[in-house]
Symmetry: C2
């Protein structure tokens, strides 16, 4: 099989070099050669020797090249990438992409075009780097009804939370973000990572792969980590929890929950053990029970590993495989539950004037909304103010919102009330 690589950045150069380094071993596996027919890139890459490659500056030439069987879309972005992918599909070529935004936002259109052309579109590298999570859900757990899936799918956010969690670090979000930028773990504009958009793209795709529903990036609830404080991390620890940024999707077969936000996770849970830039996804199937997949979520090598695994799958399937797209032959368009309709336990942190009767007033408001208290910490904060930290029982989010509004309007309440949902698994 002959591939065309479009884009020679971190991922493209990794894929190019992986085929150079491991080509012989891959051929031993699959009994066939994978050769690079053409490379489309605006400029070369210092790690890649292109001297014997057919290089074009026009990526769209690769999509039309009759010598190319599989197009690797590794240019990123959505406009040119979408045009490239659709053009390649129309020309009868299989497509492998690492582009989460492209698939999350335009996947339905791309998959429809691929089905019409009888080609495969694969995107293992779009989610959790080197972890074969799409394959695990789509194939490994194919006999299961998936109940829920929860994952640490943004390494930058996990790195920042891990650093903020180091005992005695007391490093604020902004300071740790700055360090992460200096270390190359965060982009100059970190919005996509720290505000949860990157995780939302990935979760949108995983949800569709798990439940066979259309891609609903428009309906996902997204919250980042920029409001998390070291104080919250400390209180959570006292209560037996770590704070992790999770993507969570679940379905009862009817509606789908689809949400990305910080979460309290019990300290002895496997997801609480995932530190630094690592990723991990836990998937609960009705037969297999919970299984977890852990590894590097980004970087040249891990992402290239996933890209070339997709290429190998296409080669091995000899072009007649039906595993493309979401792994379902019939999609089921389920309602996405609004965030106000979800039920979770929640961590609340209030800053209140430490006056007689304040706890009674807080408790009364909660009980009027039928919210009970699972755990409570009260601590002096600054001056005459106190922190009241509460873990609620399972509560409908809109009921909690109403209670929080009343709590905020108490004359003793200073500052905004922090709310972090608690993982139910």
């Amino acid at each position: 099989m002959r591939i065309g690589i479009c884009g020679l950045g971190t991922v493209g150069s990794g894929a190019f070099n992986l085929l150079r380094d491991n080509g012989a071993e891959i051929t031993r596996r699959i009994g066939r050669d994978i050769s690079i027919a053409q490379v489309g890139c605006r400029r070369g890459h210092p790690d890649c020797d292109l001297s014997s490659a057919d290089v074009t500056r026009d990526i769209f030439e690769v999509a039309e090249n009759p010598d190319v069987d599989i197009v690797l879309e590794l240019i990123g972005g959505t406009d040119d990438a979408k045009r490239l992918v659709l053009q390649a599909i129309a020309a009868g070529k299989h497509v492998v992409t690492a582009n989460k935004a492209l698939i999350a936002e335009h996947g339905d259109e791309i998959f429809a075009a691929a089905a019409k052309s009888g080609v495969q579109v694969r995107y293992e590298a779009a989610i959790a780097g080197g972890i074969p999570i799409v394959k695990a859900v789509r194939e490994g757990l194919a006999a299961n009804r998936i109940g829920w899936l929860a994952g640490i799918i943004n390494g930058t956010s996990n790195y920042i939370l891990t650093e903020m969690s180091k005992p005695g670090s007391n490093a604020a979000f902004a300071a740790v973000l700055k360090d992460a930028q200096d270390l190359g773990y965060a982009e100059a504009d970190p919005t996509f990572d720290v505000e949860g958009i990157d995780a939302a793209h990935k979760l949108t795709i995983l949800s569709s792969v798990a439940f066979g529903v259309p891609l609903r990036f428009d309906a996902i609830y997204t919250e980042g980590i920029s409001e998390i404080t070291t104080q919250d991390i400390e209180y959570a620890r006292e209560l037996g929890y770590a704070i992790r940024h999770l993507g969570i999707t679940s379905s009862d077969g009817d509606a789908v929950e689809l949400r990305v936000h910080p979460c309290l996770v019990a300290m002895d849970h496997m997801l609480a053990q995932v530190n630094g830039v690592m990723n991990a996804v836990m998937v609960s199937g009705d037969a297999a029970g919970p299984t977890l997949y852990y590894g590097a979520g980004a970087g040249s090598g891990p992402t290239a590993s996933a890209v070339i695994a997709d290429v190998i799958d296409i080669v091995r399937s000899k072009g007649v495989d039906t595993l493309a797209n979401l792994g379902f032959t019939a999609l089921d368009d389920r309602r996405v539950v609004d965030i106000t309709e979800i039920t979770t336990s929640a961590y609340l942190r209030l800053m209140v004037a430490d006056e007689p009767g304040v706890m009674a007033r807080i408790s009364t408001i909660l009980s009027q909304h039928k919210i009970s208290i699972e755990a409570l910490i009260q601590k002096n904060a600054q001056g005459d103010d106190a922190h009241v930290v509460i873990i609620t029982n399972d509560v409908l989010e809109k009921d909690l919102n109403a209670a929080m509004e009343e709590l905020a309007s108490l004359k003793e309440t200073k500052d905004e009330i922090a709310r972090i949902r608690v993982a139910a698994f």
Copy 2:
């Protein structure tokens, strides 16, 4: 596609019921029905309604049944199972099995027969129950040269070690084993599990899938957990380690290490977080880096999940897929390293008479064998005796054996010297 189920025990009944419960969802995934053409079993199963099934008491009838496309070998054992599988292959049927002993001991012969008949033999369920670990290594990481793989692949042993590790438990191996038997986590004859044979079967297969080498169950080094004491667990904890029973295989492209034994694992390592009957396998690829796969390693549902995933893979591949067997089209027969030739750090526990000069004598012997001490604990044991616990640097096992022999012959040394290897990752 029409399947024939042979054996209706824990796994067979799970597979039967999984198809009944999730058949419609599976059809939505793959666009085709999977029907049960025949069930071969000595007796029924209380959880299975066989009233509308074609049941035979003769499993070999299933292997010859022209209505059966895929034979599920779920009878266990090796003699009848081997005959059944070879007969099914000869009759042109694909085979799915959960039988680790069969594949580890007779896989090469079975795979050769399958290649000749142009059918697939799949065995995801043979290793780590519901975790799609064979798929992850063979397909998900197919672009990588695998460097090493290490896993907790026997739930019984991990359950016993976890129970023995509970703070203050002080429960001896034999007592915990008895509890495990009462709870159904261990067999009446626990030898296969606690002496590492079950893990050795699984590791033999994983090693071949990772490195594309023939199955070498004859050459694997196997050590169980029956000699582990709570005292060792306690000392290991003081030194920052948990004790886990691991299967470890590695290759430098030349020779292969293949060994199953208890191991000290750093307390903050993901494998040290795997408790109870759960399984986990960490795989290190040159591109993807280390990835880990965690889940239930046994039980009706998890094992059936893997069996039916294999069936789905065969259906999806429409019979032309080349992924059968070990995932390599050409095997490479590498030398298996003898256990005396491996290099690891090791934990040693000596019971010695607490007399002047004894530490000097121990240190001298170690240094004469060029073994240095990374960590040392000395504690009163009983009466005038002391425990000396040592973590060595990386040392060739045969050098350590020689040193241990000299240490054992010291007049101050009482009792046998305990040795537990330390994980290098």
